[in-house]
């Protein structure tokens, strides 16, 4: 299942102007989305592991790219949260 409003937030931030606005004032933008309290808290905490369970992985990646998290940091958080890590094949 997907969290619709979290997905909608991430989808809307694909628009560069909206992403700029979000980076400047997250709270103001978040008021437009009826997020569940625990989801809103995870968004404000940049909780990659929590949010990863709720949305499409591409939208998750777009979101954290839009907020300026470096890929290396994003990937490290994903791997730290992985309950079933597998041996790396070829890692970047």
């Amino acid at each position: 299942m997907r969290d619709y409003w979290l997905s909608k937030l991430c989808f809307d931030l694909l628009e560069p102007a909206r992403a700029r606005e979000y980076r400047q004032d997250r709270e103001a933008v978040l008021k437009r989305y009826p997020l569940k309290p625990e989801v809103r808290a995870a968004v404000l905490d940049d909780d990659v592991a929590f949010l990863a369970r709720l949305i499409n992985p591409y939208l998750l990646r777009f979101y954290f790219s839009a907020v300026g998290m470096p890929d290396a940091d994003f990937i490290a958080r994903l791997r730290a949260a992985d309950p079933n890590p597998r041996p790396a094949a070829r890692r970047g």
Partner: protein, 275 residues
């Protein structure tokens, strides 16, 4: 009558454009050579129309309305919205409404049920390869966008059926037109998953080997069992499956394969043998 003059495939990893300046000279050289060779072949084919097979990266569709497959039948399609493709030209791509509509109608009378759009926005999925191919003249384009991001998706068996349908539709188009097919995406890669940055080179090479030999049942089995484990980006191999079936499963020439962790993608480039 229309003529199928070429069937090609290329990866489209966005970092190939966004991070181009950071890539090693060796990688840039091979990527440029692969896209350049595809561009040379496509130009030599004198294709007037490209049927472009690609995923939609949340550009046109969202959870509100997410077709399994959508055919662009408009006179014009929008260029890429991604900031790293801001230099892409033309800003709008000329469509081919008559051929698009013919493919759509052929599908609907053959028990396929695609969605339609009179104006799609074409993201890096199609525009990155098209820009890197450096075509002297941009052919008209009939985009076919397949949902390859959000499960559930078309089965690989159904993708092969779509390829056969596409072949029949082009062959039955009454107007003279030189038509090429360009499939983009894949091979193995992960986006937004813990395996992001990993490439399943073994899967990629088995896949390429099966595509080169053209054995459909082996390919379907390999893709149905293995693609889901090669990263969520590997779902894009559906476009290769459609192209393979459209070529009649006669195998292809692999132009290059680069397992490139720098761009997170097992990058492959190929041209199919035509009947």
């Amino acid at each position: 009558m229309a003529e199928l003059v070429g069937i090609y495939a290329a990866s489209h990893g966005p970092l190939i454009a966004r991070d181009w300046h950071r890539l090693s000279d060796a990688l840039k050289g091979r990527l440029s050579a692969a896209y350049g060779e595809l561009g040379r072949r496509l130009s030599a084919s004198a294709a007037e129309v490209i049927v472009g097979l690609a995923p939609d990266h949340w550009t046109n569709f969202f959870l509100d309305n997410l077709p399994a497959l959508c055919i662009g039948i408009g006179e014009e399609h929008g260029g890429p919205p991604e900031p790293y493709l801001r230099d892409f030209t033309p800003k709008a791509l000329t469509g081919d409404p008559e051929l698009g509509r013919h493919i759509l109608e052929t599908a609907l009378t053959s028990e396929f049920e695609p969605a339609l759009s009179y104006r799609l926005r074409l993201d890096h999925g199609l525009c990155l390869p098209l820009s890197r191919m450096k075509l002297p003249r941009m052919p008209r384009i009939v985009p076919i966008l397949i949902n390859e991001l959000e499960p559930p998706m078309l089965s690989y068996r159904r993708c092969f059926a779509w390829g056969g349908l596409l072949r029949r539709a082009i062959a039955s188009y009454a107007k003279p037109a030189r038509v090429a097919i360009l499939a983009t995406g894949g091979l193995s890669h992960s986006i937004g998953e813990p395996t992001m940055g990993e490439i399943d080179e073994d899967f990629d090479r088995r896949c390429l080997d099966a595509l080169a030999r053209g054995e459909e049942s082996e390919l379907i089995d390999l893709l149905e069992r293995g693609a889901g484990r090669a990263g969520n980006g590997a779902h894009e191999i559906r476009n290769w499956a459609v192209a393979h079936a459209a070529a009649g499963g006669r195998g292809f020439e692999l132009l290059d394969y680069l397992p490139a962790p720098e761009v997170y993608v097992g990058c492959a480039y190929a041209a199919w043998r035509l009947a």
